[in-house]
């Protein structure tokens, strides 16, 4: 770690370093692109995975914090780039260094109005194109009336190019070539798993380009959280990826507890991990069912839903809800386990292997299913990292990106489970990885179900919770990939900035890349195998 710090300091004398656990490098904007290349390519850094870009408004300056990880050394650093211009803030784009940055930068542009020089597609990402102002800026006061007109849309996008003399020029670029046959798949479409829209240019049955259009379920959770106390922020986690509600709750709780220095009881840790793994099985069950339905095998949905229902019954008994559990809280969990929790989990563990066997028998070996999935939507390991495709989809491309292993949290280091990876990188691999992950989750549950220690399920937490001044970034493993939580606190009861880095945004971002040249039916196969959840990407 120190080694590469010295190297960077030598190469970029302007850079300043701070922080202990995660080093934060501050760099002037002009040097940022060079630093990015150095960080990615240098032998001692190899920061090839851009976790997220946190847009920030510190009132005196605007800027971004880039969190980077190395897939080889498993190190994480932050890079801070700022600008003082509030009228026309500009930073250099790193969209050519990490491909996922293109999407992340669009998000920052949408919320903070920071223009990224060199980004090929500087449109708003979530808000409509006639939205006034940039909502996550602290001085945002514009009133946006609800439009009664049809939504305006444009086939043009902007890109900003730096001329040799230092001036920046705006250029309009067409998204699709003239005369292309563009089909709107979504926003209301059975296979987009939510309100997502693919503007698909096709040539016959072949896909030429996809323009992902999101934001239909954007609720501004990050903005809302800035006006809520920390415990009040928690219920939003249920409403992002509603199939990994427990995992997301867990993530935010860890971040807040780390910042506040709260130590929770072991019983609470075990309960949290068990709930995480139960929701992972439930989520993967739903994935298998809906995925098979997307491919036309409707019956599988009913088979997998039976297991999912059983898990939801377990959760209902303890949490009182089947969907928005709101179970993890700061200091532990909301209430103690239901009396027959252990019995129910054991019953589940008993039927699960039989069911998985049945799924494999009816679907995985089917020749039509094989033809539909094998070799379809190939994603190489390099692309998976560059597009930040985490979770089972990333692991299917042989990228060991399980945050439970890479950045162990809670009691995961003590548990015996395997990180499931595959080398094929196609839709079939993504399907099989999830299948096997269910078995691994069951293994974790089997280890814990008889070892739930006695103790309090929730420690005493101050009624008014204030975090010290500082910033914290935590990554946990949701059901669909790495879920990052960034908290910046100014010492008050409310977060100054709460950035949620969901796994599904990059998943949707990679669709265009892997569907090029394949058939319309493959779009459904690929989209289904990536398993994105729209409320998660839109927030």
């Amino acid at each position: 770690m120190a080694n590469f710090q010295e190297k960077i300091a030598k190469l970029f004398p302007e850079a300043t370093f701070e922080g202990e656990e995660t080093v934060m490098i501050s760099i002037p904007d002009v040097k940022w692109h060079d630093l990015a290349l150095a960080l990615r390519d240098d032998e001692d850094c190899l920061m090839d995975y851009l976790v997220t870009i946190v847009g920030m408004d510190w009132t005196d300056q605007l800027g971004c914090i880039y969190y980077l990880m190395s897939s080889k050394y498993n190190t994480m650093i932050g890079v801070k780039v700022t600008t003082t211009d509030r009228e026309r803030p500009m930073l250099h784009s790193v969209a050519d260094v990490w491909k996922v940055a293109c999407l992340f930068e669009r998000e920052v542009y949408d919320f903070f109005g920071i223009i990224f020089i060199g980004n090929p597609d500087m449109r708003r990402l979530f808000l409509s194109i006639d939205w006034k102002g940039y909502p996550l800026r602290k001085d945002y006061a514009e009133q946006n009336e609800v439009s009664v007109e049809n939504e305006r849309q444009s086939d043009m996008t902007d890109t900003y190019i730096e001329l040799p003399d230092g001036k920046v020029e705006k250029k309009e670029v067409a998204i699709f070539e003239p005369g292309e046959f563009v089909v709107n798949i979504g926003p209301q479409h059975p296979a987009t798993h939510g309100v997502l829209r693919f503007r698909t240019a096709v040539d016959g049955e072949e896909i030429k380009k996809i323009d992902v259009y999101m934001g239909y379920i954007h609720r501004g959770i990050e903005k809302l959280c800035e006006d809520l106390t920390y415990p009040q922020c928690l219920p939003f986690m249920d409403r992002m990826d509603y199939f990994s509600a427990h995992n997301y709750h867990h993530g935010l709780c860890i971040a807040i507890e780390k910042a506040a220095g709260i130590q929770i009881s072991r019983r609470a840790e075990v309960i949290r991990v068990m709930m995480d793994e139960l929701s992972r099985i439930a989520s993967h069950c739903l994935f298998i069912g809906t995925y098979c339905m997307d491919l036309g095998a409707t019956t599988m949905l009913f088979y997998t839903l039976r297991v999912r229902e059983q898990i939801l019954d377990i959760m209902e008994k303890t949490c009182g809800a089947r969907m928005t559990f709101n179970y993890d809280c700061i200091g532990g969990v909301m209430q103690d386990l239901a009396p027959d929790f252990q019995k129910d989990v054991k019953a589940l563990l008993e039927i699960l292997p039989k069911n998985i066997k049945e799924y494999n028998k009816i679907f995985t070996g089917n020749v039509i299913a094989k033809n539909r999935m094998e070799g379809v939507g190939y994603l190489s390991r390099e692309d998976a990292i560059s597009y930040a495709v985490t979770g089972p989809s990333g692991r299917a491309s042989n990228w060991a990106c399980d945050m439970r292993k890479l950045r162990p949290y809670s009691i995961y280091p003590e548990l015996d489970f395997e990180e499931v990876t595959a080398t094929e990188g196609d839709s079939m691999a993504r399907f099989k990885v999830r299948m096997r992950e269910m078995e691994e989750s069951a293994k974790i549950l089997a280890q814990l179900v008889d070892n739930i220690p006695e103790g309090e399920y929730c420690v005493k937490v101050p009624k008014v919770l204030k975090l010290p001044v500082g910033r914290w970034f935590t990554v946990v493993e949701g059901c669909r990939g790495a879920f990052g939580v960034y908290i910046e606190s100014d010492g008050s009861t409310k977060p100054y900035r709460l950035k949620l880095a969901p796994p599904c945004l990059p998943l949707a971002g990679v669709v265009d890349h892997i569907t090029r040249g394949s058939k319309i039916a493959d779009l459904i196969t690929i989209g289904g195998s990536l398993d994105y959840i729209v409320p998660d990407m839109d927030r």
Partner: protein, 358 residues
């Protein structure tokens, strides 16, 4: 064996006793038309109920069970609902073709009913190229689907229609060739003749290996021909919402829906005609008592029973297999089924020439 021609002849002579010849024919045509419509509607209702129950059984559900005993009246309720639904008026479409398309589809399946061997002496028209007529009229349906997709002025329907066109035209070949294989064995194209030929033994046993191959190919191609899963690409709901009939509403949509179920019956019916003897009871040479007992079961029951059993297989396909992709669908036809079929035809001819069949 009960012969329905005695009844039809009685009606004919009864009408002729007080009506001139031309009027008799007209009245008979009207009667047959009304009867056909009734059978058509009832069969469709039965099939909807049947498929829902079968599918429910596969999916560990109960299926419709609220309306009437065992949910039997559910499809009647659905029919009345679809009859009173609004026909949504669309702008920017080719109104004439849009309205014409569902009728083309439904007429195609109705015409096919004319030559089906419903029972002993219970066939609307039996002429020497019956099976050829059947293949011809069933391919009118694709015209309706193409028109529906094109006239709706919608990209999804257009893709659905083009897929359907490619699929139907391809699989017509397989159907035609496997029908031809069996016609070779029968030595006649008349539907009545084909049934009569099977009075000692059904063709699937008589023609053994090539007949079995032709049967399997016919079932696959027939499933594709009816646009049912795993070949339901033209209306692949997860890709094209509802494919070519996305823009249709009310009874116009109902016509497509009806035609789909009736095509299922027709495909199963033709399969039972060509391979399982049509209305002919199961006869085994030498087992005279057995054959005699089998004759007591009415021929209509034989025919409809066979068709329903075969439809069960097709429904089974649909609720088990995932959907194929368009290129896989076409390569299955052109690279596998068609060559096998051609080889099979030669094999059948050899077997007939050398008299190796039973």
């Amino acid at each position: 064996m009960q012969d329905f021609s005695t009844i039809t002849d009685a009606i004919h002579s009864f009408l002729l006793s007080f009506l001139p010849g031309w009027l008799t024919t007209t009245v008979e045509c009207v009667l047959i038309g009304v009867g056909l419509l009734l059978v058509y509607a009832l069969l469709a209702l039965f099939y909807i109920y049947y498929e829902r129950k079968v599918c429910a059984a596969f999916q560990c559900r109960i299926g419709p069970n609220r309306v009437g005993p065992w949910g039997l009246l559910q499809s009647f309720a659905d029919m009345f609902k679809i009859l009173i639904k609004e026909l949504i008026h669309l702008n920017h479409i080719d109104k004439f073709l849009f309205a014409l398309a569902p009728y083309l589809v439904i007429i195609a399946s109705m015409l096919a009913f004319a030559v089906l061997p419903w029972g002993n002496g219970l066939q609307i028209i039996d002429f020497n190229i019956g099976i050829f007529f059947l293949v011809a009229v069933s391919s009118i349906g694709v015209l309706g689907i193409l028109l529906a997709g094109w006239s709706s002025n919608n990209k999804f329907t257009l893709i659905g229609a083009l897929r359907s066109g490619a699929q139907m035209v391809s699989y017509e070949l397989s159907i035609g060739l496997s029908v031809l294989t069996m016609v070779c064995l029968a030595g006649t194209m008349s539907v009545g003749g084909i049934v009569e030929e099977q009075s000692d033994l059904w063709f699937i046993f008589k023609g053994h290996i090539p007949a079995l191959i032709a049967f399997v190919i016919y079932m696959i191609a027939g499933t594709a021909e009816t646009n049912r899963g795993p070949f339901d690409l033209p209306e692949a709901e997860s890709e094209l919402t509802a494919g070519y009939h996305t823009e249709y509403s009310g009874i116009h949509f109902g016509f497509f829906y009806l035609a789909e179920y009736l095509n299922l019956f027709i495909v199963a019916g033709v399969a039972s005609l060509l391979f399982l003897g049509g209305w002919m009871p199961l006869h085994i040479p030498g087992w005279d008592t057995f054959n005699h007992i089998m004759d007591y079961i009415p021929s209509v029951v034989w025919f409809i029973g066979k068709a329903i059993v075969l439809s069960f297989v097709i429904i089974w396909f649909k609720w088990t297999f995932p959907r194929l992709r368009i290129d896989q669908l076409l390569s299955l036809e052109w690279k596998y089924l068609l060559p096998i079929n051609l080889f099979n035809l030669v094999l059948m001819v050899c077997i007939i020439v050398f008299g190796w069949h039973f």
